[in-house]
């Protein structure tokens, strides 16, 4: 075994005698494999399948991403699609402006739980209520990862964060805000689903949901949201290898995965 070159130069493809490549380290719309995210972070996994979905739905030259503030913002550095970085929490409003002006485009937001459930809760709910034809994606890791692991509106009960040192207490801090459920309850929302990237199966499920969300948008059916549970071992203060288990044990009981609403599905 040898170390393959880390040069992000796609000319130097590796060829293996008697085998064909079935998965490449770099998605089509990816210009680099390097990023500064922490070991074991779930965001980059979500990034790649997002880019794959855009490619597979032939939306590469119609896609405009609007990205909030969080660790995931760095997707802008590695993706080869139009991106607008906007203010923390405001992506659904910004995306509304973009979509109304470029109605043929596939407009999506990429946000975190801090971004969407805390700072930007009004923006996402109002956009959903308006039945805005955009796709909102929330990478929910239950903390403000980027600022070092404080409690967000999505942190689960009992979760220890830098601002809930004894664990999130219902008495002091209340309960988490289930964004997907709230959005799904609004008539303007046409497609809502929640998935997780802590297992290979979850990754595949996430990809299916993202596809469906973009299809909802391009069909004009209304607002779509996919909430993706991702690992943040840094903000959870657990070893990287414990991330997937923490996600399923601590987060999933509060945030069950699966489709919540699908207006495209023939009745």
């Amino acid at each position: 075994m040898s170390n393959r070159s880390t040069e992000p130069d796609r000319g130097q493809e590796v060829r293996i005698e008697g085998a064909r490549q079935v998965a490449s380290s770099r998605a089509d719309l990816q210009v680099s494999e390097d990023h500064h995210l922490c070991p074991g972070c779930g965001h980059p996994v979500a990034w790649r399948i997002l880019l794959e979905v855009i490619q597979e739905l032939s939306l590469a030259q119609r896609a405009i991403g609007v990205v909030g503030h969080g660790c995931y913002t760095n997707i802008v550095r590695m993706a080869d699609i139009d991106f607008l970085q906007c203010l923390h929490g405001r992506a659904p409003a910004v995306a509304t402006g973009v979509k109304r002006v470029q109605p043929q485009a596939a407009v999506f937001t990429l946000q975190g739980d801090g971004d969407m459930a805390s700072e930007g809760l009004a923006e996402v709910l109002h956009a959903a209520a308006r039945a805005e034809k955009i796709t909102a994606i929330m990478l929910n890791n239950g903390v403000f990862g980027d600022t070092g692991g404080q409690m967000t509106a999505a942190s689960v009960v009992g979760q220890r964060t830098k601002t809930s040192l004894e664990g999130r207490s219902p008495e002091l801090h209340g309960y988490p805000v289930p964004v997907a459920e709230l959005v799904a309850s609004l008539p303007g929302a046409a497609y809502v689903a929640r998935s997780a990237v802590n297992t290979a199966g979850g990754v595949a499920q996430t990809k299916r949901y993202l596809k469906r969300a973009f299809e909802t948008q391009t069909s004009g059916a209304g607002f779509s949201l996919v909430e993706v549970l991702t690992m943040c071992p840094t903000g959870w203060f657990v070893p990287t290898a414990a991330g997937p288990g923490y996600l399923s044990d601590s987060m999933q009981p509060t945030y069950p995965t699966g489709p919540l609403k699908d207006s495209l599905r023939p009745a």
Binding site: A19, A23, S25
Partner: protein
Amino acid sequence: MSPTVVSRGTVTIDVERCKGCELCIPACPPGVLHMSSEVNRTGYRYPRLSPGCTGCQACHAVCPDYVFEVYKYDRPQLTEVSPGPVPAVGGAE
């Protein structure tokens, strides 16, 4: 007697990009990935492949650092393994 292991696929592992998170290890259904004891230039241990890869892409799916490329062999490869410590193999030079 050395048992024979069938590999239907293989992977390349870009060890310098690996950040040692170990997410790929339990994700591999046949359990053919295990962490190295050496570290890369940044100081992280990284996965090594033992024979028996199925080319299922699970490692690729879960790896946050885009370390893997996955290949399917046109014909399954057979490897004789000794009962001792599992030798590491890498798909590509």
